[in-house]
Assembly symmetry: C2
Homo-oligomer: 383 residues x 2
């Protein structure tokens, strides 16, 4: 097989653009020097614009999970009642973090593959006014569901004083997120998905209302204390040594996204989702999630006539194409395709043409080219 | 459009593997130091093996054309009679170089798209025993013809004392070349095609018989004097400052080709050629060259019902996919697809799926997916 060749279509980490890789290769700079201050000054307004918020986006060196835990330990403390809407593995992670910090965690479990139900949230909150925060996942990476975060946020605000906390890790920059308009109090996301960056950076936006809670919150924390980040960011700084190459990369990724235009970025993701879904339907293979809640960034497929692990193995062995498997109880039952960030409709066509080759080899009854054709048609309708 | 994204499918320069790019990024080393000596020592035997020759491959910093001119000025001098077999723009270049050096150049022009005819060469040489060298192109990049070099070489040896000079620029490492077995006296090639390297290096293999001629040849030359290179190479050195990053890159590219295995490398190219040709035939678009002489590295397509320039423009604008146009009298009449080097069957499927999208937009009557399907079938038959 052609060496040093890989196609990475898992739902993160995702491929990064060459210029982002080159940006990381610049000489190190001191994190307390003028260069870093200037870099943060340049990045700050652009991140706010990307996420449609008036509040500064806090940057934290860590994974997406570090971002989630930061959200948790800043808005609640041991013994506090919180609601976690669990639509998959990453809702479950939010719940586990709350549990680890001894919060009184109410889980609202939703069948994996379904979206969260705003009415159920409303009903729960009407009966549980003491809940201090509601945690939810925008795109549930484990199922490919895009939860109706704007609606749920509205419902939370209408029925309680709880803060609205959103995990935006696999949705940020792949689908529109209006932090302020939607009333999100703490938004946490990571770098390694649609933002076209490597893993290692978490971003958090905090509302005025949330700052009031955070100031008074007594949960023990040091590295994850948002107050420290806020104080530093007001002076164009970060409290602890940042991953300098990731900041270089971030500036370049922002430049690329701005050059494409965020409307176009979001449209591209929608088209890629629709291309993938059209192909899978043409192959007569069930999708895990219904169209209404299909995420523009990741699609989960639940075959009923072949082993998804056999498909993944073949794709990896024959083409060095990586797609993801299922998590927890969906392990071995689904495969998940990432179509976000540095990924074009042409890349989607390539992936689909390879999946067809693998399906045929697994004796799945499809016609070669039919899924590609369905995706091509979607492209042409939307170009 | 997604920024910093491009698909380069011209017949060279070709994309380079990431690890080759990284290899180039190493700190510079002195060209007279031990590191360079050791590097050349490591490269030498591997280059010989790649080209199936017992003679050292001379490395020259310059383009493929520099390699061709080096071949010319070393084996003949002003006034000498030479035969140049011209099957396209690069045969023409050989002739122009001979003309520039005031040689008495006999051109054997072949219709572009056809291959050179060994019998015609035999007939010519029988009548022209005074010819000192016969120049030919292995893969004619301008037409996608792979000339029967082994056969022609045999014919030259059987009918004259002329040296056999071969341009291997767009065939080297994309299709088997047995320099010694075929009796090639001077073989010249460049780095930027199937060798998965950037432009900037030329390689030359010289037979014992050719060295005898070269030693006595009085044509003025300095940078291009092969004697100087030979003397240096015997001491694991190069006479003039080499492009150090290209030597780093060469070592890594050799590692990648060896890891894949040259048999597999050649098979991959053959399959990619057959995939492209199958798709084009399915679309009912004429190929410039018949199957027998279709090159494994580049394919020329000669549409009769649409403007190839309109196709190229659309591919570039909509997908940043570059394919080449025609040269000289074929300008505006053909387009040429490169499928060599760091290019996989998956990349070919991607390219074909995009070309289909463009053809439909140009109102060419094809069915979406049918060319992809034809190529997929070729892949499955050969995997």
């Amino acid at each position: 097989m052609l060496q040093d060749y890989s196609l990475l279509r898992i739902p993160g980490p995702t491929p990064i653009p060459p210029s982002v890789g080159h940006a990381m290769n610049q000489p190190m700079i001191g994190h307390r020097g003028k260069e870093t201050t200037a870099l943060i000054q340049r990045i700050k307004p652009r991140l706010k614009k990307l996420f449609a918020t008036e509040n500064d986006m806090i940057m934290l060196t860590g994974s997406g999970t570090a971002g989630l835990e930061t959200a948790v330990v800043n808005v609640a403390s041991a013994g506090d009642e919180v609601l976690v809407i669990v639509t998959g593995a990453f809702g479950d992670r939010f719940a586990k973090i709350c549990d680890a910090h001894n919060m009184k965690t109410h889980r609202m479990d939703v069948t994996w593959g379904d979206a969260a139900n705003p009415s159920a949230v409303a009903a729960f909150l009407q009966e549980n006014k003491q809940v201090k925060a509601v945690f939810m996942t925008h795109c549930e990476t484990s199922t490919g569901v895009l939860n109706p975060v704007a609606e749920i946020s509205q419902v939370v605000q209408a029925n309680s004083d709880a803060l609205v906390i959103v995990d935006g890790v696999s949705s940020a920059a792949g689908t529109e997120t209006k932090i302020d308009e939607w009333g999100i109090d703490v938004y946490a996301t990571g770098s390694q998905k649609a933002m076209m960056l490597p893993p290692g950076l978490a971003f958090l936006a905090v509302s005025e209302r949330a700052w009031d809670v955070i100031e008074k919150n007594e949960e023990s924390r040091f590295y994850f204390d948002l107050k420290t980040y806020k104080k530093n960011l007001d002076n164009d700084a970060v409290p602890y040594t940042p991953s300098i190459p990731l900041l270089f990369a971030l500036e370049q990724a922002l430049t690329l996204m701005e050059a494409e235009g965020m409307e176009e970025v979001y449209d591209r993701h929608t088209v890629m989702r629709d291309m993938v879904r059209a192909a899978v339907k043409t192959w007569n293979i069930p999708l895990l999630t219904e169209d209404t809640y299909g995420s523009p960034t990741v699609t989960a497929v639940q075959p009923d006539n072949f082993d998804p692990e056999a498909l993944r193995k073949l794709l990896k062995e024959q083409f060095n194409l990586s797609v993801a498997g299922g998590q927890q109880h969906l392990k071995g039952k689904i495969f998940r395709i990432g179509h976000m960030g540095y990924c074009s409709p042409a890349d989607v066509l390539q992936m689909l043409s390879i999946i067809e080759l693998a399906l045929v080899q697994l004796d799945v009854e499809i016609s070669l080219g039919e899924g590609v054709r369905a995706a091509q048609e979607v492209y042409l309708e939307n170009k």
